[in-house]
């Protein structure tokens, strides 16, 4: 079977070495706020000439899988994610760190990543062709519906005021309109800056909104010392397995998010970028205690992590079966295939079966390597928290600048980062959730292209949005998710009225009930 041949090939000493090196590079690039997996993978492109396609792809997958996992570590530890997926995880991961549960958050973070990666790989091997057939039915109208579905999770990102979350989301949508108009090609809202014609990319924006804003915020508030002491870290075991209770609490979350993430990852185009937010949003909407999210709910860490790692595996499906990239990283991998004289596509399995099975094997092995290396590194990662603010913030700013520039080599991205940093600072002061803003920015493009091209494919009418089963299905799910919190709230109120006694005890009980409801 392909998977086992692939695992065998990846376990060859040279390949395994490259894989482990790749995982280290990925973990480092992912963890450092400001650097991202895309940068790391792009840096490997020139090496692929020397390594050859198979070795280069194995290494890149190591980097990709590790960076996908580590991107959210920066979010969890410092509220400084380097990519969209980390922005979702930071919502609950960072509060956990603030509460002194950083070790717990990171263990579950890494475990969920590995679980997501493995489930994603299994799905990739077993049912990819069937899934793909459904994924192909996802045309522009479905993408528009999917963007709407994503936007329902803005509600889940509100901490306190829903109005503020909606305002932030709308500003994000507005920022997404900067650049060339997808209908007429006209230049929109570029403030006369030629470089802004390319639009506002979400990675510089995220680095600004989170990392830079967080530093401004700490300067303003004056946090002088590291948050953790060496003593706190001594308490963490050397191989920091997550606790049994946390695993039990999150097992269905991980499974649900993996399935969802894998499918979303398969959608060519923007799929893999929104998997984490959809994973998070669905989990919040489905939960009977949505108010716990955003304040350090461990499920809020597991859901986006499992979803985006599973999506990483899913994004390989269109690459391997149709030769089309599902996201930024797979686009680079496609280039590597081509540079090495391979043509990814339906015939890849016939012409170069060893490459295809290596991809499967590498995904599986990378998830396992990330799990072990990651858990071994938990203490090391937590030490980052002991670094005094002056040292840490200086380093982060340097990386933010280098990392932002290194992605597209554009100076305008540095300005985007800085402006977003200032915006993010004020957003934080006045309680606007920046993650809603980022979500708007990410979804804006998808929604607009989906709407415009959706009208295009139905030859100038709106009928596509009302007649296609998958569009209607997605819209209905979005609608249900929007209403679910209201339903839970209503049911909750009714029950509370029924038993008004001992509210504290009730809250305790409802948390265990919450677990059992899922099983």
């Amino acid at each position: 079977m392909d998977l086992f041949t692939g695992i065998g090939s990846v376990l060859e000493p040279f390949h395994l070495l490259l894989m482990v090196v790749g995982v280290f590079i990925g973990l480092i690039f992912g963890t450092i706020p400001g650097l991202s997996g895309i940068t790391a993978v792009a840096l490997l492109v020139p090496f692929s000439y020397v390594l050859g396609a198979e070795a280069a792809i194995i290494m890149m997958i190591g980097v990709y899988v590790a960076a996908t996992c580590a991107g959210s570590l920066a979010g969890t530890l410092f509220n400084m994610p380097g990519d969209v997926m980390g922005a979702a995880t930071a919502r609950d991961g960072y509060p956990l760190t603030l509460q002194g549960h950083a070790g717990r958050a990171i263990s579950i973070d890494i475990t969920a990543s590995a679980v997501g990666g493995l489930i994603g790989t299994l799905l990739l091997v077993l049912i990819a062709p069937q899934f793909l057939r459904i994924a192909l039915r996802f045309g522009p109208p479905e993408f528009f519906a999917l963007a709407l579905l994503g936007m329902t999770s803005v509600a889940s990102l509100a901490s306190g005021s829903l109005i503020k979350a909606l305002l932030a989301g709308t500003l994000g949508l507005l920022m997404a309109t900067v650049g060339l108009d997808p209908v007429s090609g006209a230049v929109r809202f570029n403030f006369g800056l030629q470089q802004l014609q390319g639009g506002i990319d979400f990675i510089p924006a995220i680095i600004g909104f989170f990392a830079v804003a967080e530093i401004f915020n700490s300067l303003y508030r004056g946090t002088g010392r590291g948050r953790y002491t060496a003593k706190d870290i001594e308490k963490i075991p050397r191989f920091a397995l997550p606790s049994w209770a946390d695993l039990r609490r999150t097992r269905w979350t991980m499974l649900r998010a993996s399935l969802l993430g894998n499918f979303i990852g398969m959608l060519p185009g923007a799929g893999s970028t929104i998997a984490a937010f959809l994973g998070y949003g669905t989990e919040v909407q489905l939960s009977r205690n949505p108010e716990r999210f955003g304040k350090g709910e461990i499920k809020g860490v597991a859901a986006p992590e499992a979803a985006n790692n599973s999506a990483a595996a899913g994004s390989m499906v269109p690459l391997l079966t149709l030769g089309i990239p599902g996201g930024a990283v797979t686009a680079i991998m496609l280039g590597v295939f081509i540079l090495n004289g391979l043509r990814p596509g339906p015939l890849l399995f016939r012409d170069a079966p060893e490459i295809a099975s290596s991809v499967f094997g590498a995904l599986a092995v990378a998830s396992v390597v990330v799990f072990f290396v990651g858990l071994l590194a938990v203490r090391l990662l937590l030490r980052l928290l002991t670094i005094p603010f002056e040292v840490f913030s200086t380093m982060v700013l340097v990386f933010a600048v280098v990392g932002t520039f290194a992605i597209y080599n554009r100076t305008i991205d540095l300005w985007v980062m800085l402006v977003c940093g200032i915006l993010g600072f004020f957003a934080k002061q006045y309680g606007f959730p920046v993650s809603a803003l980022v979500l708007g920015l990410v979804l804006g493009d998808i929604a607009e292209t989906g709407l415009v091209n959706g009208i295009g494919v139905s030859r100038g009418s709106w009928s596509a949005f009302l007649s296609r089963p998958f569009t209607i299905g997605t819209l209905v799910i979005a609608f249900i998710l929007l209403l679910l919190p209201l339903l839970w709230a209503y049911l909750g109120r009714r029950r509370r009225r029924a038993d008004t006694a001992a509210p504290v005890e009730r809250a305790e009980r409802s948390s265990t009930a919450d677990e059992q409801d899922r099983s």
């Binding site: 792009a42 192909l136 039915r137 108009d181 269109p318 149709l322 081509i338 540079l339 100038g460």
Partner: protein, 391 residues
């Protein structure tokens, strides 16, 4: 004694610095050995140089000159260095090539593949700088901000001429650049899913003529060569096509396979696997070339008597003020690199060897001027809203 955090953060900082250095590698570049040959004075004419390069390429092909891709140097490279006249003191350091599209795309593949042997001939590193955005214009805009010393050049595609015609940019591509070389010609083909009801290209045109706007065709983005080809075709038939642009090649292909669009106008190399796998079939070749290896029975649009106003080419340009001697040198280097096996194999895989597309700097400029006029006329004819585009 130093506090304990100091020692720990020092090791972490070291790790970080290593990563930083890695990231910076993309910008810096190794210094290659200085070229051995220096030729001066009124050397041979460009035509003679090209002829000599061709002769060397033939010898390489016949196996008379040793050629080893990826090596430091070999007989073929030495021979080429000897015949290509070198400007005084150039190149003394690495040359940066701005690619206006992301890693892994068509422009990226072209530039990096032709660069493989170009940097060996030059004896200097080429630094590839992907600056994506606005169909390559963000990268081009960046090139214009750099010194015109021949150390920053860019790879350009047809969109640059179109955007010039539409006046979307603060500069004029055709008037402001020095044209080095054009190396890739159009390989676009009109594809349909295998089970499409359109048997032939004429079927499709007939249906489109009777039902304006009902045939949906996808191409790469708005204001692209794909769109202008369709506009011209629509004008000829006195009808219009439903043009649905997708920026990503992935989105376009899945829209075709998923049945969202009827026809895809796409380069041969990108989708040839799907054709060989029997999922799609060609209706007509988009330009005037018939790709015998794909299907000699299929007509080209030009053969059928329809206009083909523009096609997707790729080439190299520099800022306008660059010394003509350097422009000629770069032309010769890239021309020679394109005749060597590494690039030719890449071309063959993507049918670029059939499409040709080579033009020297002078012809490249003349052709671009003509294309700009043609696009401007089309844009006016179709009320393509240039007023709005100018802001």
């Amino acid at each position: 004694m130093r506090p304990s955090w100091y020692r720990r953060s020092r090791s972490i900082a070291l790790l970080c610095v290593a990563a930083l250095a890695l990231a910076a590698c993309q910008e810096g570049g190794g210094q290659g050995a200085a070229p051995e040959e220096e030729e001066e004075g009124a050397g041979p004419s460009q035509d003679e140089v090209v002829a000599e390069i061709d002769a060397i390429a033939e010898q390489v092909e016949a196996g008379e000159l040793a050629y080893e891709a990826g090596g430091d140097s070999d007989e073929a490279i030495d021979a080429l260095r000897e015949v290509i006249p070198q400007p005084e003191g150039y190149p003394a350091r690495a040359v940066e090539i701005i690619i206006g599209f992301g890693e892994g795309g068509g422009s990226d593949n072209y530039t990096r593949n032709v660069g493989l042997d170009a940097e060996r001939i030059m004896g200097q590193r080429l630094i590839y700088n992907n600056v994506p955005g606005a169909s390559g214009e963000v990268g081009l805009g960046q090139m214009f901000t750099q010194a015109a010393d021949g150390y920053t050049i860019a790879s350009a595609i047809t969109n640059q001429v179109i955007n010039d015609a539409l006046g979307t940019q603060p500069y004029s591509f055709v008037d402001d650049v020095a044209f080095i070389i054009r190396q890739q010609g159009p390989t676009e083909i009109y594809w349909v899913p295998t089970d499409s009801e359109f048997e032939t290209f004429e079927d499709m045109l007939e249906f489109a003529a009777e039902n304006p706007g009902q045939v949906t065709v996808s191409g790469s983005g708005i204001g692209s060569d794909d769109e202008f080809r369709l506009l011209a075709l629509g004008a000829e038939l006195d009808t219009e096509f439903g043009y649905v642009p997708f920026d990503g090649v992935g989105d376009r292909i899945s829209a075709l396979l998923g049945g969202d669009i009827d026809v895809l106008h796409e380069t041969a190399g990108t989708v040839i696997d799907l054709y060989e796998d029997g999922q799609i079939r060609p209706l007509a070749y988009g330009g005037d070339i018939v790709f015998e290896d794909i299907d000699p029975e299929i007509p080209s649009v030009a053969d059928l008597g329809y206009p083909v106003p523009i096609g997707r080419w790729r080439g190299m340009v520099a800022p306008g003020e660059v010394d003509p001697a350097i422009v000629d040198y770069l032309h010769n280097v890239f021309y020679a690199a394109a005749q060597l096996p590494a690039y030719r194999e890449f071309e063959a895989a993507f049918f670029q060897d059939v499409a040709g597309g080579y033009l020297d700097g002078e012809d490249f400029r003349a052709e671009s001027l003509a294309e700009r006029d043609e696009v401007a006329a089309l844009a006016e004819q179709f009320g393509y809203d240039t007023e709005q585009l100018e802001e």
